[in-house]
């Protein structure tokens, strides 16, 4: 298992558009990918799960991947988080 922590940067938090980008990235890998916010953990391949967390700007999340392509998944997600301005480390 591989994981990474981020602070959400967008003014409106992790709303539909950045959530879509993240879910799209996670969905292209075989590994289980999850996102943890406070005590809740959701499937990062689920747009509804991610949006239901209502994550606000400045809040911290942990993304973890577990499976055959877990490192590639985390690397790709990390790339997307930074290039799309979704969050910072």
């Amino acid at each position: 298992m591989v994981e990474k922590q981020y602070k959400i940067a967008g003014e409106e938090g992790l709303h539909a558009r950045p959530a879509s980008v993240l879910v799209g990235a996670a969905s292209s890998f075989q590994s289980d990918v999850s996102l943890q916010h406070k005590e809740k953990k959701v499937n990062l391949k689920s747009i509804l799960g991610v949006m239901s967390l209502g994550i606000k700007s400045g809040e911290t999340v942990t993304i973890s991947a577990d499976g055959a392509d877990e490192q590639e998944a985390i690397d790709r997600i990390d790339e997307v988080v930074k290039s799309e301005g979704i969050g910072t480390e």
């Binding site: 879509s20 799209g24 969905s27 391949k45 689920s46 509804l48 799960g49 700007s57 400045g58 809040e59």
Partner: protein, 572 residues
């Protein structure tokens, strides 16, 4: 026969055209028992595939005809269609309960709709519509029913609907769709937001539009007043054609003012700023030509959550606003909780009269830890722009001195910690308690600026709770007593070389603004949507002329006399 419906003015403008009913068929997800669950799951998968194909086509067309941002809505919809947390449970339900795909889909999606609708955040509440929209599309394929295709419209129409789903709205070609009327929804519903983006007049919450309006009937949508006129006579059409032309002319004029300075006919500059509650409001400020932020209500950072925002969280929010404002003045008001604003997680004793109790700066002193955290966050953010800080509900000079001392202490603490802060930050007060207005000359020697909070100043001066409808007749912005206090504040500021602003609703009022101009107000801060209206008004006025009328106005006996006098001056 002409009839009129009332609703919510969701998007400004006037539209006159034939009605096009966008009526969604009743899709009945009746429960049926199935024996071949594999076949049923295959039916579901076929419907999902058909829905994806449709959404991809719509997304493509939307990106071509409108914008990538609007098309992004359908990217989210496509992800909902692929969502393992939604699709998985539907298939499980078909298998374990041996029910049909329609029922399983409807039941499972309803769980999510309920969950999103229950959220505090307005944005998340609206996401329920996205889920409903996707569900409807898949269900229509399962049932073999055709849902509306607004893209086929080829004449000018006003769309009549129960509500507009995102799919509906973006298929509407602005060339032909001139207005909307929906039975449900408010100003923040999906259709209202997109109507404003497309600049199409809209009325929401009309309740019986679908029931009352037949296809092809002439309809007038008055998005300015939230009215829908059905089957108007020729005279009414003529009257609204004139209103429509007037609005278009005014909008064109205002559009030219977005990047203009706020200057009167005799060359006097004022600053027209906006009041905000969230960093996301800054876009509206800049789009409307705001020259600054005159009031950033920081209590919004504390609301809609279950614990205090941390120093880091606050720093992030303040820095975000300052960066967006890019050097334009930004006045931040420290926490104003109490009165009509409460926090569930802050346990405050019940007070008989919270408007006169422990709130705003009084609460800040009682909970000095919270105040220091906020001051530190503001100081840390200060390097990102033109920050000014003001303290709410100051009643005595001692209170200001104490608050200022805490500010200076935290500045020194941060400097000692090696954290950079801006050198000169203006520190002022809200003037909303009469004692500060009466003693303005004394305060002006020590504060850097005043911001007159007229909403509270009026209610305290006239001793009438503005939330109490039974005494609302006493809430009088034009009352000469209020105006004299305002003059006292402005004169005191100028005498000490300071500036005076206003962040109450008076600043954006067309009757009050000319009086305030004459009194010498430096900054007018209002709802962003009022800025261009006031800029347009002020550019035709002469400050020198208004000054000539000041003494007369302040010696009138009643608010009504003031209003009548100003209206006469403005030629109304």
């Amino acid at each position: 026969m002409t009839s009129i419906l009332s609703g919510i003015a969701a998007s400004n403008g006037i539209a006159i055209a034939k009605a096009y009913r966008l009526e969604h068929p009743e899709l009945n997800a009746e429960k049926k028992t199935v024996t071949d669950t594999e076949k049923e799951i295959a039916r579901l998968e076929t419907a999902l595939k058909q829905s994806k194909t449709e959404l991809q086509a719509i997304k493509k067309r939307t990106a071509e005809q409108m914008s990538d941002e609007q098309a992004a809505i359908f990217e989210a919809h496509l992800l909902v269609l692929n969502d393992p947390e939604l699709i998985g449970p539907i298939k499980d339900k078909i298998q374990s309960d041996q029910v049909n795909a329609e029922f399983a889909l409807d039941e499972t999606a309803s769980t999510f709709v309920t969950m999103f609708e229950a959220m505090d955040n307005a944005y998340m509440k609206e996401r329920a519509a996205d889920i409903r929209d996707v569900t409807t599309r898949v269900l229509s394929h399962l049932l073999g029913v055709t849902i509306p295709n607004p893209s086929l419209v080829t004449e000018e129409v006003v769309v009549i609907a129960d509500d507009l789903t995102p799919s509906d709205t973006v298929q509407l070609n602005p060339e032909f769709v001139k207005g909307f009327v929906t039975d449900i929804g408010g100003r923040t519903s999906h259709s209202a937001i997109l109507a404003r983006t497309l600049e199409i007049p809209a009325v929401t919450g009309a309740k019986t539009a679908l029931a009352d309006i037949a296809n092809g009937v002439m309809v007038i949508v008055d998005g300015l007043n939230g009215e829908v006129i059905i089957d108007p006579d020729a005279e009414t059409i003529t009257r609204y054609e004139t209103k429509k032309a007037d609005f278009a002319e005014q909008r064109a004029e205002w559009a030219q003012l977005v990047n203009e300075p706020s200057v009167t006919a005799d060359g006097h500059h004022v600053e027209l700023a906006a009041n905000i509650g969230n960093p996301s409001d800054v876009t509206g400020v800049l789009d409307n030509g705001g020259e600054g932020i005159g009031l950033y209500r920081t209590e919004f950072l504390y609301m809609g959550r279950d614990s205090f925002p941390t120093e880091d969280e606050q720093t992030e929010a303040y820095a975000s606003v300052l960066k967006q404002m890019d050097g334009k003045p930004t006045v931040v008001r420290t926490l104003d909780i109490g009165g009509d604003k409460e926090l569930s997680y802050l346990e405050m004793p019940k007070e008989l009269n919270p408007f006169l109790g422990v709130r705003a700066i009084r609460l800040a002193f009682e909970r000095e830890d919270l105040f220091r955290t906020q001051l530190r966050a503001l100081l840390r953010a200060s390097v990102h722009g033109n920050l000014k800080i003001m303290f709410p509900m100051i009643a005595t000079l001692d209170e200001f001195r104490k608050a200022k001392a805490l500010f200076e202490e935290e500045r020194a603490n941060l400097t000692a910690e090696g954290i950079e802060v801006k050198a000169d930050i203006e520190v002022g007060i809200m003037v909303e308690i009469p004692s500060t207005a009466v003693m303005a000359d004394t305060f002006a020697k020590e504060v850097d600026f005043f911001s007159i909070g007229t909403n509270d100043l009026i209610q305290y001066t006239l001793a009438a709770d503005r939330m109490n409808e039974r005494v609302s007749y006493l809430y009088q912005p034009y009352n000469p007593a209020v105006l004299r206090l305002v003059r006292n504040v402005i004169d005191a500021a100028h005498k000490e070389g300071k500036w005076a602003g206003m962040c109450g609703e008076m600043a954006g009022d067309e009757i009050a603004a000319p009086v305030l101009l004459g009194l010498g107000l430096d900054e007018f801060s209002m709802s962003a949507s009022s800025i261009l209206k006031i800029r347009s008004l002020l550019k035709d006025l002469s400050k020198a002329d208004m000054e000539q009328h000041t003494e007369t106005i302040l010696n009138l006996a009643t608010a009504d006399e003031v209003e009548a006098y100003v209206k006469k001056l403005l030629g109304q």
